[in-house]
């Protein structure tokens, strides 16, 4: 209960309509000219010192994108985006190479501090690693990659990971240093022609993380990427590619925040995961982009394509997401269960408050034999928000013995919000076993009164009930993230009742 108590404390200190990460950092940036054209694509590729094949890949995607139209099937409503009115690349101006913490742009340092990344880790982030023997043995290590607007600022623990054979670096560096791996896997899960936003991302993505875990290696620490949008009018298009080779294991976490702004900003990321025979990838997200203010002004448009390919037999991919931010969320982390006996999981907590709109869920595509998948989705709608679960479970005709279990629970707080469940289930193989359970409930006056009669305040009561509701999913998160996520949930729902 410690965490809940903490949550409660936090909520008490926070005013309604206050987004903790809503500050802006004033640093000089290097921007691409406004708008999108072949020139923009070339500018980005050049900035990144990319080889010719990469530029060609981007240009093909760009040309393809020109022929595509925005998808409109999701239950979200927003004014048309003017793609020529955006900046597609912004990077903090590089300073000279640093050897100690004192030489780093103090504005960037301050940003990390405000984000709650402790200075010790900042030192690591900025490449000042502790001397061997001076590390705190009780601390669990997490390697961090920080992406500020369009570029990766720093990656920690590179050396230690290298010893284990794990490659963890900005994807822009991987394109130069490991072209054979990138060429082999990039776009192999989400093809450049996949969908409007993924194709846009393929043309203009600027940075993101690249992970390769060699055969038989259990990655010695959690890998984490921290995404931050800072610049005005700038879209963020990160690209993440994770490959777990035969019999390997990796757990990866991502966190996202953005400044508070009146205008909407576009975020269109692509994440591709590949798991070979007997490999396992655990991917966790705590998404806290700016959701807009209490009148629905501003906030991030989050159009994201995330897909994992269980390419090998007995491979496993597990998605866990806590979605609390963004004005609009359009996101369906999926698993292609290609290998025999492979399995996919999707655990989700999606919270919407104020005027937020969430359309999120997953796709479990059963192709191999005896594949299994599990979906646990918890949607919480408060304020005037709309929260939709949209999921597809499908078994190919050769997918004998496919199994799926789906549980979708929605919780409504107040009477001006909506929760919707849109499951698509297709079994082309008669041996498939698909189970689907769905519930919708309300935090009733009776439940609240029971808690409040026992001494809890209204906010504490809501926090308690909500934490109980999402417990199954929170347990899937790595420890550090679970605590953080729990706080976030209560903050997101602050002022949702009464």
């Amino acid at each position: 209960m410690v965490a809940v108590q903490e949550t409660v404390e936090r909520v008490k200190r926070i005013d309604v309509d206050q987004y903790r990460y809503g500050f802006e950092t004033l640093i000089e940036t290097d921007k691409a000219p406004k708008g999108l054209s072949e020139e923009t694509v070339k500018f980005i590729s050049e900035k990144k010192n990319e080889p010719a094949w990469m530029l060609q890949w981007r240009l093909e995607a760009y040309r393809r994108w020109l022929t595509m139209t925005e998808p409109t099937w999701a239950r979200v409503d927003y004014p048309k985006i003017d793609f020529q009115d955006l900046y597609y690349y912004a990077a903090p101006k590089p300073k000279k190479t640093v050897t100690s913490l004192d030489e780093i742009d103090p504005e960037i340092l301050k940003t990390y501090e405000k984000l709650g990344i402790p200075l010790r880790e900042v030192a690591m982030l900025e490449g000042v690693e502790p001397k061997p023997g001076e590390e705190d043995p009780n601390r669990r290590k997490i390697a961090v990659d920080a992406v500020f607007d369009s570029v990766s600022v720093a990656t920690t623990f590179k050396a230690e990971l290298k010893k284990a054979g794990v490659i963890f670096m900005p994807i822009s560096e991987a394109i130069r240093e490991h072209p054979e791996l990138v060429q082999k896997y990039l776009g192999s899960v989400v093809p450049t022609s996949d969908n409007f936003y993924a194709t846009l991302n393929s043309a203009v993505f600027s940075d993101g993380s690249f992970v390769y875990v060699p055969p038989g290696v259990r990655c010695p620490m959690e890998l984490s990427t921290y995404f931050r949008i800072n610049e005005r009018n700038t879209g963020q298009f990160e690209r993440t590619l994770i490959i777990a080779d035969k019999g390997s294991y990796v757990s990866y976490l991502e966190g996202c925040t953005a400044p508070q702004r009146d205008e909407n900003q576009l975020h269109a990321a692509v994440v591709e995961l590949v798991a070979h025979d007997d490999a396992e990838i655990k991917y966790s997200t705590v998404q806290n982009w700016y959701p807009g203010n209490s009148e629905g002004k501003g906030g991030i448009y989050n159009f994201v394509t995330k897909r994992g390919d269980c390419r090998g037999d007995r491979s496993k991919i597990s998605w866990t997401q806590v979605e609390t931010g963004s004005a609009i969320t359009w996101k369906y982390p999926s698993c292609i269960l290609r290998g025999d006996n492979s399995s996919g999981e999707f655990y989700s907590i999606a919270i919407s408050n104020g005027f937020q709109q969430v359309d999120s869920g997953t796709k479990m595509i059963h192709l191999g034999k005896n594949t299994s998948s599990r979906i646990i989705s918890k949607g919480i709608a408060a304020g005037k928000s709309q929260n939709t679960y949209r999921g597809l479970v499908t078994a190919h005709r050769k997918a004998t013995g496919a199994r799926n279990f789906t549980a979708c629970d929605s919780l409504l707080i107040g009477d001006k919000c909506g929760a919707h469940t849109v499951p698509y289930i297709e079994a082309k193989n008669s041996s498939a076993t698909f189970e689907h359970e769905a519930t919708t409930s309300k935090i009733s006056e009776d439940v609240l009164f029971y808690c409040i009669q026992r001494g809890l305040s209204q906010e504490e009561a809501v926090g308690l009930v909500v934490n109980g509701f999402v417990k199954d999913v929170l347990q899937q998160l790595p420890m550090e993230f679970a605590v953080e996520a729990q706080k976030l949930i209560s903050i997101s729902l602050d002022g949702s009742v009464g």
């Binding site: 209960m1 809940v4 108590q5 409660v8 006056e445 009776d446 439940v447 009164f449 029971y450 808690c451 409040i452 009669q453 026992r454 001494g455 809890l456 305040s457 209204q458 504490e460 308690l464 009930v465 934490n467 109980g468 509701f469 999402v470 417990k471 199954d472």
Partner: protein, 250 residues
Amino acid sequence: MALLEIRDLRVGVEDREVIRGLDLNVNAGEVHAIMGPNGSGKSTLSHVIAGKPGYEITGGQILFRGENLLRMEPNERAAKGVFLAFQYPIEIPGVTTMNFLRAALNAQRKARDQQEFSTPEFLKRVRDVADSLNIPQDMLKRGVNVGFSGGEKKRNEILQMALFEPSLCILDEIDSGLDIDALRIVASGINALRSPKRAMIVITHYRRLLDHIEPEIVHVMSKGRVMKSGGKELALELEACGYAQFEDAA
């Protein structure tokens, strides 16, 4: 000063007056029984004392140790020592009983500027009380009231009452849904909490409960008013003649 003093209370629900000029005085150390037919306003009275939303107070006042109770939020009332054992205890999935108890107890203590209990101290208290009520430890690890039998739910109410040590306990039909064995356990739990510093209001339809919890004073409620008050012999009279005579008096 009476612990609880209700003067000419009038309460409306959806344009209907359900309590119509009710007076009641309860002193510390006393156990009062309120009996009455369905719809006489017994449960409404318990809800209004505890502060449940949805009722309109159209007149009168409720003083608790001389303070205006109606001005306080329900959680403030709880911290001041008002406890309501629910007729239908609420289920809270995913929140273990143990966590719920701790969150509530610490919230009350904090409101009273008392220090929160340390984990070992809290666990010991819960264990002692649970043992006395025959509540197994694994019940405390389950979601609050989720999958509990009728008897378990009521025992859980008494567990909370024992743990929070309130000065005014309102027991709303604590006997409903209990078999005779469960009733005995619940009643002995309640009797163990009788104290010169604590008052109880026991709301029931049936005299049976009063064989187990002996009240000092019995009130008969009908049509939103206390029609008659007396000693425990009044309960016997009720059983013999029914509520009709009191309704006629109204």
